[in-house]
Amino acid sequence: MCASISQELQMLDSMAKEFAESELVPGREDFDEFPFKPLFDGALKKASEVGFFSLMLPEDVGGANRSMKALCTVLRETCRADASLGGVIFTNALAQEVMINAGASEMIPNPEEAGGDPQKALLAFAPFDNPVETKNRARAKAVDGEYFLDGGMEYVMLGGLADRVLVPAVMEGQKDISFFLVEAGLPEVRVSEPVISLGLHACPAVDIKFREAPATLVGEEGKGGDYLGQAADRLSVACASMSSGIMLGSFVTALDYARERMQGGRLILDWSQMRMSLADIAIKIKCADLIVDAAGTSVDEAEEGWQHASRAAALHICPIACDVANEGIQLLGGNGYMHEYGQEKRFRDAQTVQSLLGMLPMRKLAYLNMVLEAEKY
């Protein structure tokens, strides 16, 4: 890595840490209670202002044109504190990436024009679904050169928040998906109450139904699978960095607890099994960081097989993060299961992040297909 990039990432890392400490940590437990408590509007606005929602956007559409490693750095530090904001950043980045792949950068909300307003700056999208694998619920038709959507879309992250939704739909008479941009506030677009889910609570999700909803085609008809696949290739490593951040948060909390909590007359840190568990976690985090760093570099430098590196990083690290977050609760005993300590949230968030970009087993099979196609082994 050249010195200037390294320095840039270090500055971004410090900035993200500072942001997380001041904007996320103090209110984390309250934020997690959405929709029963208000959304963290203040944190979202500040995240928008500091550019977290436009990190990788090209400069000509108001973005910072940063690297994948820059995105990974921000995601790791935000997810260490509160993965919900990581979910917001990731969902938005994924939608943006799909649109960039479609050659539709100019349709992406311009952050400068949004003026720090998350509602205007963000794109809603369904990052847990792989519409190529599952039965698509949204249908599109063209009438006199204009497009209209029917059907629905489930578990749309940022759906109740962002003004615009990126929708995968199948055109009449076609098999492959296309992408469309839809205004969420239209009367033909019905947005449900917030979906209650396992984790990433403050990254609000809704179900959406369309009835003859006017939509704008993104890219070309029937090419949606390609756009999404390319986006998933790049952003898989970002999922891995989110998991890495959750693991780190879980470890630090467990370590702090072990330094204070007594058992059998001594600090629990002084019992060898506790040390063994903490060692296991620390090793997993170190390995995850090394993998994310290598995969991020591979993506940024478009090394041969970078797609494999990115996808394998997520497929390997996300399930490990689930185990680490589980152990993170266990190390705190009953307290770990309680809201106040943050560990149970990390457990829920890790499981949720694992499902980003589609069902884990199907993604594994897709990875093997990539390997077979490339005949790399």
Binding site: E33, F36, A126, F128, D129, E133, T134, K135, E154, Y155, V195, I196, S197, L198, G199, M262, Q263, G264, G265, R266, D270, W271, S272, Q273, P319, C322, N326, I329, Q330, G333, G334, G336, Y337, M338, H339, E340, E344, F347, R348, Q351, T352, Q354, S355, G358, M359, L360, P361, M362, L365
Partner: protein, 502 residues
């Protein structure tokens, strides 16, 4: 077989692991009364009816309600369980209960937990209070409090029990006297004229807000808590006793985890379940009888947690199966993918493996633990077929005599063989660790199989996952249970092993 060959056989059978350890189910099977099978089937049917009529319509809605209002208490569930007789169903008939065999409760709990572990806990954790009381072998109080539960059932007023042992600074330590004596125990119970004065806080007390009776552990001497254990039955409304907050748990939300606050709370002598003065009358040293008490209680309760875990493993499997049947992925039904079939088979296997652990734990208890007496055929059939009024009229006064307590304590403390204690302890801890790990594993597998649907509250799998995690923690975290497995099943094979003292 010749005498020489037999001699050789005996020698081989003296080696570890001994048949007494490995053949629990085989030995227990022939000794068990046949009527237990019919009772167990009835208990399963009863649970399924409750699931269909109460649990399934309410589980998700109640979970959401508690997210919105963490202080909400689903009293209607407790009242419905009381109306259906669940709180006396598994209590011995001589104490006013319905006398259904205790292993049947595991199957009953599995059924309830397959739909909602939280609601299963609301129903079953009363029996943790019961098991604690029974572990003191204070027969007069066992008789009084169990009959009070029966009276509450008759009157439509739930009179259930909770066990209160955990303190903010003392969790795992309570499982082992060596840890407890070095702990920061702060819950004081001071002897005063005519009773005890109680001061301190208990937390994480399941059903605390619902219970009429709290079976509370405390210590006369905080510098030697393991040698000064006092157990009291404290009635709700007693002066100086109040309920604090409910904990904000990740799952099992239907069942409150309560704070209990005691401020100069006076408890008269008649509600002392167990005290150092009483324990000194036993032959075994005080610290040993205190450990035995905790072991008795744990051996009874841990198969219950394992049955919850079996239930949640099953619930996750059933939800995943339904999803796989109804969902198209990659152009065909998910259930037609070979990998999905293998994953569902793994989940099914996990359910069966988890169930086997609690069954084996129950066999061990039936042979060597708390269930031993009740499952002896003569006692089982005598109590089963003796009309209840006769038991009430003739047995109850006898049970209230100090002689009864002395007799039961002698049998259960002084005459409890160490090797038997180890087998019961070991198998029930194995059940707790093994089943709860499998329960969580199945929930994780369900989420992987279901993708985004697995994350949604309305699809049930995520609730199973949240509920399952607590099973690895309560009734002694799995880590202390692993040490108990080492202590009871392994350490005796390696003389001079030291434990809890690194």
């Amino acid at each position: 077989m010749s005498a020489t060959a037999m001699k050789g056989t005996k020698d081989f059978l003296k080696r570890d692991p001994k048949p007494g350890v490995t053949l629990c189910s085989l030995i227990a099977g022939k000794r068990l009364p046949n009527a237990m099978i019919r009772e167990t089937k009835q208990a399963i049917a009863m649970a399924r009816k409750f699931n269909e009529e109460v649990v399934e319509p309410r589980a998700l809605e109640l979970d959401l309600k508690k997210m919105e209002d963490p202080d909400y208490l689903p009293w209607d569930l407790v009242e419905e369980a009381n109306r259906r007789g669940f709180f006396t169903h598994f209590e011995p008939k001589i104490f006013g209960g319905k006398g259904v065999n205790l292993p049947a409760m595991s199957y009953f709990c599995e059924e309830l937990a397959s739909k909602c572990v939280g609601i299963a806990n609301v129903v079953a954790v009363h029996y943790l209070g019961v098991a604690t009381l029974v572990a003191t072998w204070n027969i007069r109080l066992i008789n009084e409090l169990m009959r009070d539960a029966a009276e509450g059932e008759r009157l439509g007023e739930p009179r259930i029990m909770s066990m209160a042992i955990t303190e903010p600074a003392v969790g795992t330590d309570v499982c082992e006297t060596k840890l407890l004596n070095k702990s920061d125990a702060a819950f004081r119970i001071d002897k005063v004229d005519g009773g005890y004065l109680v001061n301190g806080m208990k937390h994480f007390i399941s059903n605390g807000h619902f219970s009429k009776w709290q079976i509370v552990f405390g210590y006369e001497d905080l510098s030697k808590p393991a040698e000064s254990v006092v157990i009291l039955a404290i009635k709700s409304g007693t002066k100086g006793f109040s309920l604090g907050r409910q904990e904000r748990k990740m799952g099992q939300k239907a069942c409150p985890a309560s704070e209990l606050l005691f401020d100069d709370c006076f408890v008269p002598d008649e509600y002392v379940c167990y005290s150092p003065d009483q324990a000194r009358k036993l032959r075994c040293p005080l610290i040993e009888s205190n450990q035995q008490l905790v072991d008795y209680l744990s051996t009874a309760s841990r198969p219950g947690v394992a049955s919850f875990a079996t239930g949640v493993a099953r619930g996750a499997y059933e939800v995943a199966l339904e999803f796989a049947r109804d969902t198209e992925v990659g152009g065909k039904q998910l259930i037609d993918h070979e990998w999905a079939q293998m994953q569902l088979a793994e989940m099914y296997t996990n359910v069966v493996m988890a169930r086997l652990t609690y069954q084996e734990g129950n066999y061990a208890n039936g042979l060597y633990g708390m269930f031993k007496m009740l499952q002896a055929k003569p006692i089982f059939y005598a109590t089963k077929y003796t009309p209840k009024p006769i038991l009430d009229i003739f047995m109850s006064p006898i049970l209230n005599m100090p002689l009864s307590t002395w007799m039961f304590r002698t049998l259960n403390y002084d005459l409890w063989k160490k090797e038997h204690q180890c087998i019961a302890d070991g198998y029930t801890s194995i059940a707790k660790v093994g089943a709860t790990d499998l329960g969580l594993k199945n929930c994780q597998l369900a989420l992987q199989l279901m993708g985004q649907a697995g994350l949604r509250h309305d699809c049930k799998a995520e609730k199973h996952l949240r509920d399952s995690k607590l099973l690895q923690i309560y009734e002694g975290p799995n880590e202390i249970n692993k040490l108990i497995i080492f202590k009871s099943m392994i350490s005796n094979l390696v003389p001079n092993t030291t434990m809890f003292d690194e």
